[in-house]
Subunit: 414 residues, 2 copies
């Protein structure tokens, strides 16, 4: 199924204290939007998680520095361009260019350049057209505002070959005060010669200390963006930023525990999962997605190892594409995950039907197999893998592997 | 390029002391060969390496038992059927069926059933038609012989959807005596609902103690079959067997060191690499293969991590398919391997041309890029990744990812 646009794109300016803008500065030959700015009225608690890839884009390096090389601190704006990822451009001044983007945004917002978090996505290895970008950022001033139209403009400014905008909104209460988390994201897109990049920007009006915000983001990230796999590859630009304005007026969350913290983490996790889901549905060449519920293993680490092995597996992904209830590939992928498993207690369900138990397939006749295959033509396939040897569990999300993925990633002119 | 048949298929009966046969017992509806027997004149030193998958086929479990659960011992025959992998059939008597295959082969060869090493490949999850198979094995007696026609029959008996037979032969000298290693293999094939399986059977007339043979096989395996990736998935049936008759008359190699041992390991490694190469060229949907030379890292472990990450990467595989000199994906895949790397010293060459150094792409103009892309249309693409931070190196072998892979693995009726 082609991804559909979320019914509402209200997102990053829904929390109190934020404005946003999108615009075009001419990086993309198509003339499509290529700039995004999210600005807070005052300095916010800020946190981030970045790609673990050893090769990091210049904006990642600058963002890390602006968050004191520990992933959290204070910031007042996020600035991002699409169309050029500013990766592998250090010799061409890439680091300085990312700094200049921050400076331009800082001047507009009225904050210190160190309080701006930068990101870039798009073609890699080409010098950033920095004059166009800084001029473009400066010209965004009249476009800044609050409301869904501004959220949409911001979400469009970070798209590469995403088919639809990605946005989410979660509301909750802290100390009787209504709080909001809004987020926009972009998923795997391809601009030759480039690679998939995931960018996620959140805002919230909850009051929460920087270090605690970082812990919450890591926790939410582990249960969402770290549990999806389009193609098992890790971009050099992946970034999640969050700004917390505190404008909601709740008592500052100053420790990573307690009821308020748990409420906040739960809302942030849901917001992360909603964007993770949108990214998978818009995965390169994806025609359907599949959930992998790993259950009954000894530790969360083991659950994640199996979840990753199964969602990464090309043989599983092609079976999902072909609507094939192929328990063999699910068993194979689970068994290679580096987790000790007992085949005798391992069970596999597809769309609610048990297909493997007692080390034996349970649906073997043509009729029931065809019926199950038909059920797999759904947009979402649910796979349950239960090792029956412990209490830990995790849910991963994958997408199928189609000819279109090959077409997107092999058939373009360099 | 479609794989071509090796010019000579002389292999497992070239070493002194072995006969082989292939035959049809009716497992495959197509009527194609589905049985293979390799018999030694007398008990041999024997060793094996098996799949590390937690879910193992019944023949793997029996083979492990016959080699004393330590991977080496004494054996006089290898028996294999294709068309049914005897995986996930324990409830249907799969283990006993593998034992019965050994018993039938033992009676024919005149040895103890424990001295037979079994293997099966093909459809999984279906009970083995054991009567057909044991009758078929018994009827192979008049078909056993020495010479290339027997080697070909044996090689054909283990094929599933391999396009060509796979065989290799290496000669060397120990103590002035001519020695030979012969081997046959099969690679990734697909019979719905099934999975890729690699089977390799070697014979040699060198005299070498079982435990030492095992060490040699592990060493050769690490530098060959453990350095290839068609699709990053690990079969539940992968098996490499070797029988050493000692008929060459060299002084028994009784320790894993010394000149004779090194000579033997070198020959066995070459034989493994030759079959590994044939398997990759015949990989599912492969149109070309690529070597990844990882250099200048701190340890062999690190070299292997990078080699695996690059040959597993769908984005690298699709770039190779599209003849795209995409240094970005090579850098990305290297950077996610879990090895600490310094982008400033990392260099990338494709077909001998440096495309990335000083954290910057070096070929950026349309003309040279097109020229390099043309060079990548070769059957073999050579990629060199040098971290310039150590002395360890390893060579991995991958194949490209094409629509045909999707077609093979998604479009079949269950």
């Amino acid at each position: 199924m082609p991804p559909s646009r979320p019914s509402s794109l209200a997102s990053v300016t829904a929390p109190q204290g934020f404005t946003a803008a999108g615009g075009c500065c001419g990086i993309k030959k198509s003339g499509r939007p290529d700039l995004c700015l999210i600005a807070a009225d005052r300095p916010c608690s800020a946190a981030a998680v970045f790609t673990t890839n050893q090769f990091k884009g210049a904006p990642v390096l600058v963002g890390m520095k602006h968050l004191n090389d520990r992933g959290y601190g204070t910031a007042q704006a996020i600035v991002c361009n699409s169309g050029n990822s500013n990766v592998a451009t250090l010799a061409a001044g890439g680091f300085e260019h990312a700094v200049q983007m921050c400076a331009a945004a800082a001047e507009l917002v009225g904050c210190d350049p160190h309080e701006v978090l930068p990101a870039s996505t798009g073609v890699i290895g080409r010098p950033l057209p920095i004059e166009k970008i800084t001029a473009g950022i400066t010209s965004l001033k009249p476009d800044l505002g609050r409301g869904e139209q501004y959220d949409i403009a911001a979400a469009q400014g970070i798209m590469t070959t995403d088919l639809v905008e990605k946005a989410t909104l979660r509301t909750f209460e802290l100390d009787g005060k209504p709080c909001t988390i809004g987020g926009i994201g972009k998923g795997s897109g391809m601009i030759a010669p480039s690679m998939a990049t995931m960018l996620i920007f959140f805002t919230t009006d909850a009051a929460i200390a920087p270090a605690v915000l970082h812990t919450a983001l890591q926790q939410a990230n582990a249960a969402s963006f770290n549990r999806i796999s389009v193609d098992s590859d890790t971009s050099t630009s992946d970034t999640v930023y969050i700004l917390a304005s505190g404008a909601a007026g709740n008592a500052l969350i100053s420790e990573p525990k307690g009821a308020s913290y748990e409420t906040f983490v739960a809302a942030l996790t849901q917001a992360c999962q909603a964007l993770a889901e949108q990214i998978m549905v818009d995965g390169e060449g994806a025609t359907r997605t599949f959930e992998v519920h790993v259950k009954g293993v000894g530790s969360l680490l083991d659950a994640d190892k199996i979840g990753r092995a199964v969602t990464d597996s090309p043989l599983v992904k092609t079976a999902i594409h072909g609507c094939d209830p192929n328990w063999g590939r699910l068993v194979m992928a689970s068994g290679k995950a580096g987790v000790e498993l007992n085949p005798a207690t391992f069970t596999v369900k597809i769309q609610g039907t048990t297909v493997f138990e007692n080390n034996t397939p349970t649906v073997t006749q043509a009729g029931p197999l065809a019926e199950l295959s038909e059920k797999m033509q759904a947009d979402r396939v649910v796979i349950e893998l239960d090792a029956h040897q412990g209490d830990a569990q995790a849910v991963w999300l994958g997408c199928d592997l189609s000819r279109q993925y090959i077409a997107i990633n092999a058939d373009y002119t360099t």
